[in-house]
Amino acid sequence: MTTILQQTYDLSSARPLRSQRRARAIAILIRLALLLALLFVVARAIWADETCSSPYLARIDGQEEFVYVWTLGVDGMGDGQDKLVTVDVKPGSPTYGKVIHQVSVAGRHEAHHGGFTDDRRQLWLAGLESSKLFIFDVYSDPAKPRLVKTIEDFIEKSGGAVGPHGVYALPGRVLIPALSNAKDKTGRTALVEYGNDGNYIATHWLPTKEEPRGATGAEFADGYGYDARVLPRKNVLLTTSFTGWKNYMTEFAKVASDPEAVKQTGNSMVLWNFHTRQPRKVFKVPGAALEIRWALGETHNYAFTATALGSKLWLAYEDAAGEWQAKEVFDIGNVKGGVLPVDISLSADDKTLFASCFGDGKVRVLDVSDPHKPRQLLEKEIGRQVNMVSQSWDGKRVYFTSSLLSKWDKAGKDNEQFLRAYAWDGKDLKPAFALDFTELKLGRPHHMLFGATAMGERKAVPAIVSR
């Protein structure tokens, strides 16, 4: 009987977009099948992943087993090259909390961010300085990623985009927001698309005052880029803005003390029509808004971002009239004290937000249950400097790395380089394990991505790819 009903569900769910009359007519069959599906989900709802990953990405079935760390090489340390470091985080494993594999790429490229393809078979890692992209096979043996391809002509193929930053999974392709351009190496830049095969597809330049490309708020358009993330349900893409090659490859003290350099930092956020890749609205967001975290709730039409140089938490949201807005919602810290919130992580229930602050090495944990009125729950030092923060889908494990940029990291004893893992109990962070990347002669750890041997059904997340 179960099979028969399941097949009936096959049929009824094959009619998702037609009239309400039809939907009502087959509603009873659907409900029966949904009841079965719900029972099935409840029976096996233990699964996890990184909360900030692309909604188009295949999900890990169960707990993450590996943390992949894209690590900047340091001259004179180990082989001095950028490398992908694999850390075992499988509970009970004899190598839990240890580095179990590393693959160096030739040379130093300012290793920064990366991302999986939608089928999670490849991990693409980008170099901000060289504009190279390194494609790893993480499917054949997730414990031992293998470099299979290097894209060396990103600048030429993209028509002059420089500094590939994130790699964001879309169906059959990846979206790569860049940070700069070949002409003047300022922050004027583009979003670039590649197929999962590594074939170039298209370039979309960020809107400027001179070329707003149909966007409203053109007076705020500076053409800068940083992060790019999609809310499929609303067909919107949001992008933020940082700074160009000239600044991110220069010592932070020099940039901070040069008024002209400071002027060349991003002050905008852009809302796009995702399907058409056309900018719709430009918001003025001063102070270099970096990571974007869309809320995951089915009716939560909003995203958070934090301004690194402004130390503010911003909310992009759809108002009651259906118009998209952006506003400051929280002061993360005193910018003159160098708080520098550089990464944020939003829990899967949209209630808790971790903001890692490079300047004072602390994480601020905020209650964002009311996204318009966040309040701080905890302020805790993670190290002398801290950069990326990633949390598991169940919210129980939180990982931090230390490096911001090779030219912007602190010096001397403040230049701690680590991966530190914590358990989060809803009130405090308790240390789980720590790896000293200097002592291990690995380099400067930056972006973390979760890996596993098991990928499964993704039932609890709206608008995602089913597997």
Binding site: I4, R22, D197, R233, A454, R467
Partner: protein, 229 residues
């Protein structure tokens, strides 16, 4: 699955298709926002669909067990190609893709331009179970609409012949650890491809983007490209 159950399943599928068609057959105007696709579709021709790559060829079998080249199903008309397996019971996977193709098929029956320029293809990545006979049963979904665009149901001769096709299109398929999983025995990314008349992939949809209104806008954007030449 035993033969009796297979026939029962097929009968249910057919009955349901007829039932759903009778009670719900309406025009394009009924396509509207849903909670999963809460936006307006763009106007055709107001945006670009860059070429992603060439649609690969493959030697396949149609629902009548006749050899057919995938190339012949991805050239000459605008093609919407969906990779599926008929045992899939995951609500946001193959049933959703087939539902979208069925909507397009119905619409094409009422729109001459679509009937003359569109082609639908459902290709199985489960050749052992999805034999031509099974695909023929499945093709009942396309019956009763003589004026509609052609809808082909094809499968591969074997797993060995299938693998290069999956690799060429980037269609990930794995066996699940639990073959008795109620949603079906295979893990797969949902992929539906939009292919132009010259056999070039112009868009790839998944459950987050497989909105018939978007597919229609894309098809009409390609039709306008042709008209502008």
């Amino acid at each position: 699955m035993n033969k009796r159950l297979f026939h029962l399943r097929t009968a249910l599928l057919l009955l349901g298709a007829i039932f759903a068609t009778v009670v719900g057959s309406q025009g394009e105007e009924t396509l509207s926002r849903t909670t999963d696709h809460d936006y307006d579709a763009p106007a055709p021709g107001t945006y670009q669909l860059p070429v992603i790559k060439a649609a690969a060829d493959a030697a396949l079998l149609d629902a009548a067990s006749k050899p057919i080249n995938l190339r012949d199903l991805t050239r000459g008309r605008i093609t919407v190609l969906s990779f599926i397996y008929t045992r899939c019971a995951s609500a946001k996977a193959c049933p959703m893709a087939t539902g979208a193709l069925m909507d397009l098929h119905e619409l094409s029956a009422d729109h001459l331009e679509l009937a003359q320029n569109l082609r639908l293809v459902s290709m199985s990545f489960d050749p052992v179970h999805d034999t031509p006979e099974r695909m023929r049963s499945y093709s009942a979904l396309a019956s009763g609409r003589p004026k509609a665009a052609p809808w082909q149901f094809v499968t591969a001769r074997s797993e060995t012949e299938l693998q290069p096709v999956l690799a060429a299109y980037g269609q990930a398929v794995d066996k699940k650890a639990n073959p008795a999983d109620p949603t079906g025995p295979l893990n797969h990314t949902l992929r539906v491809y939009l292919i132009d008349r010259e056999g070039r992939i112009r868009n790839i949809y998944s459950s987050g983007t497989l909105d018939v209104r978007l597919v229609l806008a894309d098809v009409r954007t390609l039709l306008l490209e042709k008209a502008a030449r």
